[in-house]
């Protein structure tokens, strides 16, 4: 079945379209809306966006593939992004990544077999003063310690 937005998201899109002088400008916000609903940006989602905003499907695919945050394939229920860039690395980010990999039994870029958690490394998340840090879904967790990471991952897996 072709992709469609829920009613409240359709309304949200209508509001978003009023913000810009062109329809195309709503593409990235629309893709976020679709991904929020669908979990990832499928072929169907891309066709839907192209049709909705009167832009060529190739343009939509070009945009989707440019940005890191659009998932091209299904991901876990929770997404864990561990910042690996230098300021975090100076405070132990590599150990945090290793701890996550060991605890979850997966490598960076993979999803746990129960579909609960996708682990990723992120480039600088603008939280260098509170390093090391990770983003879980929409929330930042800062000044991480091994204990904090353990507790956090336990919570995600039991959710």
């Amino acid at each position: 079945m072709p992709f469609e937005l829920t009613k409240d998201r359709e309304q949200k899109l209508a509001e978003i379209l009023t913000r810009y002088p062109t329809k195309m400008a709503a593409l990235i916000p629309l893709l976020h809306l679709c991904q929020e609903q669908n979990g990832f940006v499928s072929e169907d989602v891309m066709s839907f966006c192209a049709h909705k905003l009167d832009v060529p499907p190739a343009h939509v695919e070009g945009v989707v593939t440019f940005y890191t945050l659009f998932n091209r394939t299904p991901v876990g229920k929770h997404q864990v992004w561990v910042c690996r860039t230098l300021p975090c690395a100076l405070r132990g980010a590599d150990n945090i990544v290793a701890q996550c990999e060991k605890k979850l039994g997966i490598h960076v870029g993979e999803t746990t077999s129960d579909g609960k958690v996708t682990l990723r490394s992120a480039e600088c998340l603008a939280s260098c003063g509170t390093a090391p840090m990770m983003q879980v879904d929409k929330e930042y967790f800062e000044n991480l310690t091994p204990e904090k990471v353990d507790a956090l991952l336990d919570k995600l897996r039991s959710d």
Binding site: R19, Y20, P21, T22, M24, A25, A26, L27, I28, P29, L31, H32, L53, V55, H59, G62, V63, F66, Y67, T68, L69, F70, W81, R84, T85, L86, P87, A89, L90, R91, G92, D94, N95, I96, Q99, A122, E123, C124, L125, A126, S127, C128, G129, T130, A131, P132, Q135, K138, E139, Y140, E142, N143, L144, T145, P146
Partner: protein, 465 residues
């Protein structure tokens, strides 16, 4: 000289400090915008803004008032103010605090900015990851709309102003202004050739001004006290680097934080007086003065300016760590001020490993449009990796220079320089470390980025001061 101020950070940490009530009570919120819109002409606003000597806070340090003056005086086209809040330069963590703790200063700045440059809409481009920042900005916009500060006739003035928060989707390059404009228009975030500059053809092909978020947040303060007075707060007012700004300190430091200071503190003051000294009481190996694209500085480097006419002469012979941090002073010591967020590395840190970490960042974030940058950033990473693994020859170390020089000046945007300059900084200043891996005197397995007291986490909780 270290001079703490609290113009931008007064409401930080206060209960509901991000709300309109607190902003109006503590900071005379929106009174300045009202005064500007109801008593000044657009030309007066731009002339006054120039006196503030606000050097762009995003890293390039271009004077804000001068940028505003590039906008067309008479035009039938719609104009736009675009605020760059795509904070993602490694080591930079200041704009986020403003959005989360003092969003109304941004909105008030947008009102004054829109009026000054002739725009009716301001787009604030926030990176998608900063969910709390977006929420606080939208909240501030709603509050301001309800009070009539935003809308068709702000403060009764017939000059409509609307502010919109736009989000990216995870691309460092979108912090580059023309790439940001493409992203705002719903395109791939690839930088555009300049000219045309944004003031001629920016967002949606219309005249636009792109300002950093901290730059615009400083505008209400500057206009409130008088832009000349604001500029004079800085120790570098004489060289047109004015006002106050946010300084960050991170890495191997006892108290990582963001702090507001009058422009012109020295690195030593930031490290010792603000940051509480280097972690584990170690010696400082080097610092990245303002985000990863700024070449490193070593404490043993000194200023060489024997000529009395040289603007740097008054610091001749002193350590670069004792030179006031300013856009021009840092350029004169061979680096850049950048975003004013300092990353400290303690003795014992492997500079080759640090460079590899950063080159991995640039390799990942190059947009791929220009070949020298796309290929060069990957070559730099691969070569450093090879050196670390002990598989390289001395020719590979020299090759790092060639690759970096091959990128510089050969790309559409400054990302190329942002990759090549720090790479050259590491290779020139720590060449012996690179050679030690070639000769086998050092081994990758022994290299570390950690200091002993910070095994796997912060030793002291960091906070915003």
């Amino acid at each position: 000289m270290l001079k703490r101020t609290d113009y931008l950070t007064k409401v930080y940490g206060k209960k509901s400090g991000w709300t309109l009530d607190v902003y109006e009570r503590e900071c005379d919120g929106y009174k300045t915008a009202q005064k500007v819109l109801t008593s000044m002409t657009r030309d007066q606003v731009v002339d006054e803004a120039k006196k503030a000597n606000i050097r762009g806070r995003g890293g390039a340090g271009f004077p804000m008032g001068v940028k505003w003056s590039f906008m067309p005086k008479q035009t039938t086209k719609p104009c736009y103010l675009v605020i760059n809040a795509d904070e993602g330069e490694p080591g930079t963590h200041k704009d986020r605090t403003l959005m989360e703790e003092n969003p109304h200063s941004v909105i008030e700045g947008c009102i004054i900015g829109c009026y000054g440059i002739g725009a009716h809409v301001a787009y604030i481009y926030v990176r998608d990851e900063l969910h709390l920042s977006k929420e606080r900005l939208w909240g501030a916009i709603e509050e301001a709309k309800k009070k009539g500060y935003l809308g068709k006739t702000p403060f009764g003035k017939d000059w409509a102003v609307d502010v919109v928060v736009h989000t990216g989707a995870g691309a460092y390059i979108c912090g580059e202004e023309t790439s940001l404009l493409n992203s705002l228009e719903g395109r791939r975030g690839e930088p555009r050739l300049k000219p045309p500059f944004p003031a001629q053809a920016g967002a949606f092909g219309m005249p636009s001004t792109v300002n950093n978020l901290e730059t615009i947040a400083a505008v209400p303060t500057a206009f409130k006290m008088g832009c000349d007075e604001f500029s004079k707060l800085s120790a570098l007012h004489d060289i047109k680097d004015g006002g106050v700004r946010l300084y960050g300190i991170n890495g191997h430091i006892k108290k990582p934080c963001v702090v507001e200071l009058a422009c012109g503190p020295t690195l030593n003051e930031l490290i010792n007086d603000i940051g509480g000294g280097v972690l584990g009481d170690k010696k400082c190996l080097c610092v990245i003065p303002g985000g990863s694209s700024t070449p490193i500085l070593l404490p043993e480097e000194t200023v060489n300016a024997p000529d009395e006419k040289d603007p740097m002469h008054k610091w001749h012979g002193m350590s670069v760590f004792d030179v006031p941090l300013g856009v021009d002073t840092m350029r004169n010591v061979g680096t850049m001020l950048g975003t004013c967020c300092v990353t400290v590395m303690a003795e014992g840190t492997c500079p080759v490993l640090a460079m590899k970490n950063l080159m991995q960042f640039y390799k990942h974030e190059s947009c791929g449009q220009c070949t020298p940058c796309r290929e060069g950033s990957a070559w730099l990473f691969n070569t450093v990796d090879k050196i670390l693994d002990g598989n390289a020859t001395m020719a590979d170390v020299d090759n790092l220079h060639d690759i970096a020089n091959g990128i510089m000046g050969n790309t559409i945007c400054a990302f190329g320089e942002g990759t090549a300059m720090p790479a050259l900084g590491f290779v020139k200043k720590f060449r012996k470390h690179f050679e030690a891996y070639v000769t086998g005197a050092k081994k990758h397995s022994e290299a570390t980025l950690l200091v002993e007291t910070a095994e796997s986490g912060a030793t002291e909780p960091a906070k915003v001061e």
